[in-house]
Subunit: 114 residues, 2 copies
């Protein structure tokens, strides 16, 4: 298994949880401290920190501690990697449909000429 | 939790596995039978069928049995839903950066005029 594949496993696993997606949605509007993020989630800070750790470990979020405040921000590259994989599949799928469309058009034109 | 959120949980969970992503990649080039798909994966047919079931349950893949052959194809809407969520976050993130750029430009212009 390639490093790229393992990385995608972790990114998609991280996105498969509503709390973690909500954190990404919060951070997509700009960086925020852990306590600012946590106050929107009805759970113990320890549980919330575990969700943040999953996001940090897979590279979706970067955190930095200055003094006593830990600040979080999105690391865009890893989100882009997940999006890139999905759009590649959609492109191949659309190409297949386009080829099918072309084939059906050719068949219909041929039938019309006969 | 909304139905939309549960659906995204399941779609991202399904995509967090390399075998299941490989099946989506295979099917993005067109429909295929279960046995055609399975021959590219070094595992028991029963294990492979469980992966297919995860893809089918979350709506990423549709299957149809005609006679003794079960054929699979991508159900594009659910893949598009996952892509849409990611691109929404990227858009919000880019908007935030653009606002920051505008702000920095305004500050620099103001400083230049003083």
């Amino acid at each position: 298994m390639t490093e790229y594949s393992v990385s995608l496993d972790n990114v998609f696993h991280a996105l498969a949880d509503p709390t973690r997606r909500a954190v990404i949605e919060q951070l997509s509007h700009g960086r925020a401290s852990v306590s600012e993020l946590a106050k929107h989630h009805n759970m113990a800070l320890q549980s919330f920190s575990q969700h943040l750790k999953v996001l940090e470990d897979c590279g979706l979020v970067r955190t930095q501690k200055v003094g006593r405040v830990r600040t979080c921000e999105i690391s865009e590259n890893d989100l882009a990697r997940a999006e890139h994989w999905i759009s590649q599949q959609k492109k191949a799928w659309n190409d297949t449909f386009n080829r099918l469309d072309d084939y059906l058009c050719r068949i219909q034109t041929k039938e019309g000429n006969e």
